[in-house]
């Protein structure tokens, strides 16, 4: 490992010396929104008529090094913004610092202006998708605009049900996706027990999903990475918005100050009046239920080369549910994150970002049944230091390296009848180091080799992960791409797709090897016509040493840690098609996924007559063979906009019960035990799923306070009663099998004022 690091440092130094000797010039700077001063991620900057160009990084910073002195027309572009163009003259050896403001494109424009060469080569790496934050607010959503629900519309991403915002990506369960908010891990990003995600759409500016084959700068999960960045806050003027909705209301305010900007966004459920009304006529209504979240950020621009920011998030759900006079259930769960970020520009070629993060996840379910209390105290604390260096020795290489190190503390106490029945406190140190190079040996080829080294203290696990991405551009409109990566995962989630409020994470340890897997992705990204995109990807991924809580353990007390788990394997493969219209009065996309997911655990899905010896691969419930999404967004007039989404998917897999019998004589109960015999697990399919949602929005003025937007939405327009699962009624003989349905038709209305 030391030899590899030394070699890489040698490349760094050698390249620097070579470039300095040539007396080339460079241009670098931040790209921001002209109205708000928000930095723009993945904006394209380039020189017209050349292939010199770069995209801004996650801090909105770009660098184009190694430019021959001369006069150029610098162009900048970003989807939804007017193209930027400026003539610049570069002297030998000049390092021009040029911060660029891009002007948001007015929505009245029917056609997008002709775009620069650089934009046609928009930086879209394999397996990567970006979700427009405006689209998140515009999409029809169940009561509340939701980041994860929007992500679920992308090909390769599936939802477990209408009630779950969990992300099932390319055959991976939700715990296989690393979720980063301002570079900080979020462990249970859900409100309302999983119904929707914790991220307030008013507070975020960028959502990016790395579905698979993701680069070496990320790690820690087998499947994918979702990065979410909060807004920095308006650097030009104080602005805000307030939205009143059926389920929740939210408000945000942002603005500048002398040395930077700030932002604060809050959201809270507003269900209390509804619950109070329901309690008058309906039994079993919670006596208390609310959730809230707060996002905040303050930026301090110390000077041109140093920026600091402090961001925080806090979210919580609380419910109290007295389901009889002598039984009450209470649940309190949530997340808190904080991150302190320092961006430093050493030179036009060397850029660094260092962040200190803290993340806490907690849940405290508390039952009191007939005078017998049961309480769980579950806390996760994750404190880390992360630093990334980006170095551009010349136009052919973009080197990135960095480390991420931290302490992960896991506390779990189960207390039954005032006695501790299970207690666990695990503290792990983890560290990772990565290096990757984006190498452009020619105009047509881009190679991104990389490697990531991971260490996890419990069990002393050291894992090396090679990564490689290759891109070939036969012409300006077609990119052929491929990627391979090895991925490791040291933690696992204990959850239930129907309810995320009890989620518990457990870690690998001595005797519990981390899970690992390989991912292979090939694909093409094309621009068949101006402003259209067509992407096709094929993927295959393996999952080995999967460890998850053994579902057949009613009590884990006293068991050795490794005996709490079952260990399995899996694989998934499929293809995804994404056809997009990016600009104009009508925008939208069409996504199709053909997917196969298989898992296997010892003894599970075994033949009934040979349970010890056999286990077979089975499709998990969320496996869907075909998944088809259409999203359309049409500007009807200056004021009215229509948005729709339609999803058709093969029914989820389920296990058909084949036979039954009854056990009568269990000595400790008078209950007759009904038992099923089944064949292969999940070998049948529920009816196909389909749902159409629509949304109309009208913009206007709210007195003289500011612009307003009224949204009228209908979820499940034709009230398709999609089946979630089947329920068995044993009171009937023969057994009655009933559908448990998902959401019926639901209207929703919200009103937003921007000031």
């Amino acid at each position: 490992m030391h030899r590899i690091i030394l070699t890489l440092l040698g490349i760094f130094i050698g390249s620097t010396v070579q470039v300095n000797a040539q007396q080339k010039a460079s241009v670098s700077g931040y790209v921001t929104d002209s109205e708000t001063g928000e930095t723009l991620i993945s904006a394209n900057i380039g020189f017209q008529g050349t292939r010199l160009g770069a995209a801004t990084n996650t801090l909105g910073y770009y660098t184009i090094p190694n430019i021959a002195p001369g006069t150029y027309n610098l162009v900048g572009s970003y989807l939804g913004y007017r193209s930027y163009s400026q003539e610049i003259i570069l002297e030998p050896g000049e390092n021009l610092r040029l911060d660029i403001d891009l002007i948001p494109e007015s929505i009245e424009l029917e056609e997008i202006e002709v775009r620069s060469q650089a934009e046609l080569e928009e930086q879209k790496n394999i397996g990567t998708a970006q979700v427009n934050t405006e689209l998140i607010k515009e999409l029809p959503s169940v009561f509340e605009a939701d980041v994860f629900r929007s992500v679920q519309l992308l090909p390769g991403v599936k939802a477990a049900s209408d009630f779950s915002s969990g992300l099932y990506i390319r055959g991976g369960s939700p715990d296989q996706t690393l979720i980063l908010l301002d570079r900080t891990t979020v462990y249970n990003p859900s409100h309302f027990f999983g119904f929707f995600s914790t991220f307030n759409p008013d507070a975020i500016k960028d959502v990016r999903l790395y579905k698979g084959g993701y680069p070496a700068e990320y790690g820690g999960r087998l499947g994918s990475v979702l990065t979410i960045y909060n807004k920095d806050g308006n650097r030009k003027e104080t602005a805000g918005s307030a939205t009143v909705g059926l389920l929740a209301s939210r408000a945000s305010i942002e603005g500048p100050y002398k040395k930077g900007s700030w932002m604060l966004a809050v959201r809270r459920s507003t269900l209390e009046p509804l619950l109070a009304g329901l309690r008058q006529s309906v039994d079993n209504i919670p006596s208390k239920f609310y959730f809230y979240d707060v996002n905040g950020k303050i930026n301090f621009d110390a000077n041109a080369n140093n920026k600091f920011s402090l961001a925080f998030y806090a979210g919580q759900d609380r419910v109290t549910f007295p389901f009889t006079d002598d039984a009450v259930f209470e649940l309190d769960y949530g997340n808190q994150t904080v991150s302190g970020n320092w961006t430093h520009i050493f030179s036009e070629k060397l850029f660094s970002n260092t962040v200190v993060t803290g993340s806490r996840y907690f849940n405290y379910p508390d039952f009191d049944l007939a005078g017998t209390p049961f309480r769980r105290e579950n806390n996760i604390y994750d404190f880390s230091l992360k630093s990334d260096l980006e170095y551009l020795p010349n136009n052919d290489h973009r080197l990135k390296m960095g480390f991420w190190s931290g302490i992960f503390t896991f506390n779990l106490n189960d207390i039954f009848d005032d006695r501790t029945t299970f207690q666990s406190r695990i503290q792990n140190q983890y560290a990772s180091f990565y290096v990757q190079d984006e190498w452009r040996p020619s105009d047509r080829w881009v190679l991104t080799p990389g490697a990531r080294f991971n260490y996890f203290s419990d069990g002393e696990y050291l894992r090396i992960e090679p990564r490689m991405a290759v891109e070939y551009r036969p012409n300006d409109r077609i990119r052929l791409q491929g990627a391979y990566g090895r991925y490791n995962q040291f933690i696992t989630l204990i959850s239930n797709e129907a309810f995320s409020g009890f989620d518990v994470w457990l870690t690998s340890a001595k005797g519990v090897s981390p899970a690992y897997g390989d991912q292979f992705v090939i694909g093409t990204k094309t621009i068949p016509f101006t402003d259209y995109g067509l992407d096709i990807e094929f993927y295959y991924r393996s999952m080995n040493d999967l460890f998850e809580l053994d579902p057949f353990l009613p009590d884990v007390g006293g068991l050795p840690y490794q005996d709490v788990f079952r260990f399995g394997e899996g694989y998934a493969y499929g293809t995804e098609v994404f056809f997009e219209k990016r600009a104009g009065r009508f925008t939208g996309f069409l996504g199709y996924t053909l997917a196969f997911t298989w898992r296997k655990f010892p003894g599970f899905n075994a033949e009934i007559s040979n349970q010890e010896q056999t286990a077979r691969f089975y499709p998990p419930k969320y496996d869907r063979r075909h998944d088809f999404n259409v999203v359309g967004n049409y500007q009807l007039s200056d004021r009215w906009k229509f948005t729709t989404s339609f999803n058709f998917a093969t029914g989820q897999s389920y296990t058909k019960v084949l036979g039954r019998y009854v056990q009568y004589d269990l000595p400790w109960t008078n209950e007759d035990r009904n038992a099923f015999t089944v064949g292969k697990v999940n070998a049948s399919r529920l009816p196909n799923y389909h749902r159409l949602d629509i949304s109309f929005s009208r913009t206007g003025r709210f007195f003289n306070v500011g612009d307003s937007e009224l949204q009228l939405q209908i979820i499940n327009v034709y009230s398709r009663r999609n089946t979630w699962f089947y329920n068995f009624d044993f009171n009937e003989n023969p057994i009655e099998i009933n559908d448990v349905n998902m959401l019926p038709i639901l209207p929703s209305v919200s009103y937003t004022v921007n000031f």
Binding site: A160, A370, L534, F552, G659, P667, T677
Partner: protein, 301 residues
């Protein structure tokens, strides 16, 4: 564009046309049910078959009445020779009883051996009886419901080969009348679709599976248990029973209870129960138990 579409369509058709994971058809299995209780007489054995899930279920119709059944005491474990055996005879449809009495010996292994004369099919299973234990020391003979002082008793040391003891507790009401229900269970009965069935079930109210590691152990190896109020469904006289179970019952219960959800498995992801029977399904299990009687007083009485 056209080329892409055609390639994609072809790929989709190829992949989706073959189904390597077809749904199985219903298959009939022999079903066994019998529980050895330490120091108790040999139990009856139930023998029947499964029925299709959508068919009317009636035990008598599913019963097997022509089997030759023996329970055998093995010398020293599951693979050892037979020390003694007891022949069973049909007593009622599908229900067999031993021809001779025998008290089940704690710590010993028994084998169930069933032969079906028509087909010569054989069903076998072995069960190791947990070591017997006792509820020792003083136990309150009456206690006020939900008072701060809980029912407390001490279990003598017990053992099961290869693992900690696994317990199930139950309370058996001796006056299981609706007016004797404790408030929590009274409300459940009110909300029930079938209150009479629910009342009968509550009359023998069990705790579910509990590992002994959750108990408070005393220096002599005995364990002190505080009986939770949730386990008490009726006021007045109750038998409180502590049971320690063998692997066969443990496997059966823990997997049967996940068939209808409640675990980390997704709803509808049902798997077969874990069986320890060759040639059939069901359970041939063993347990040891001891009982105390306690009078549950109404608060304020």
């Amino acid at each position: 564009m056209k080329h892409y579409s055609l390639i994609l369509l072809a790929f989709a058709l190829v992949l989706s046309s073959c189904d390597p994971y077809a749904q199985d058809e219903y298959e009939e299995y022999y079903v066994v049910e019998s529980y050895l209780v330490a120091n108790a007489l040999l139990p009856e054995v139930r023998l029947s078959t499964t029925v299709p899930a959508d068919a009317f279920y009636d035990f008598e119709q599913a019963a097997i009445n022509s089997a030759a059944i023996e329970i055998q005491l093995l010398e020293s474990g599951p693979e050892s020779a037979i020390e003694q055996s007891w022949t069973y005879q049909l007593n009622a449809p599908g229900i067999y009883v031993p021809e001779l009495d025998h008290n089940v010996i704690p710590g010993r292994t028994y084998k169930l051996d069933i032969i079906l004369p028509e087909t010569l099919e054989r069903i076998t299973s072995t069960a190791t009886v947990p070591e017997a234990f006792e509820i020792i020391g003083e136990v309150q003979d009456s206690i006020t419901y939900q008072s701060t002082e809980q029912l407390e008793f001490t279990l003598s040391a017990s053992s099961y080969p290869g693992r900690q003891n696994i317990f199930v507790f139950n309370s058996v009401s001796l006056q299981p009348f609706s007016e004797n229900l404790t408030p929590f269970y009274a409300e459940l009965i009110q909300d029930s679709d079938q209150p009479e069935v629910a009342l009968e079930e509550f009359a023998n109210n069990s705790s579910g599976i509990i590992n002994e590691s959750g108990f408070e152990f005393n220096p002599d190896g005995s364990a002190t248990v505080q009986y939770p109020w949730i386990g008490v469904a009726f006021y007045e006289d109750n038998l409180i029973v502590a049971n320690t179970i063998d692997d066969n019952i443990y496997d059966f219960i823990r997997s049967q209870e996940t068939q209808l959800g409640g675990s980390t498995l997704s709803p509808g992801e049902i798997q077969n129960i874990i069986y320890n029977i060759d040639g059939g399904i069901g359970v041939f299990g063993a347990l040891a138990s001891d009982t105390v009687q306690v009078y549950i007083k109404r608060p304020g009485s």
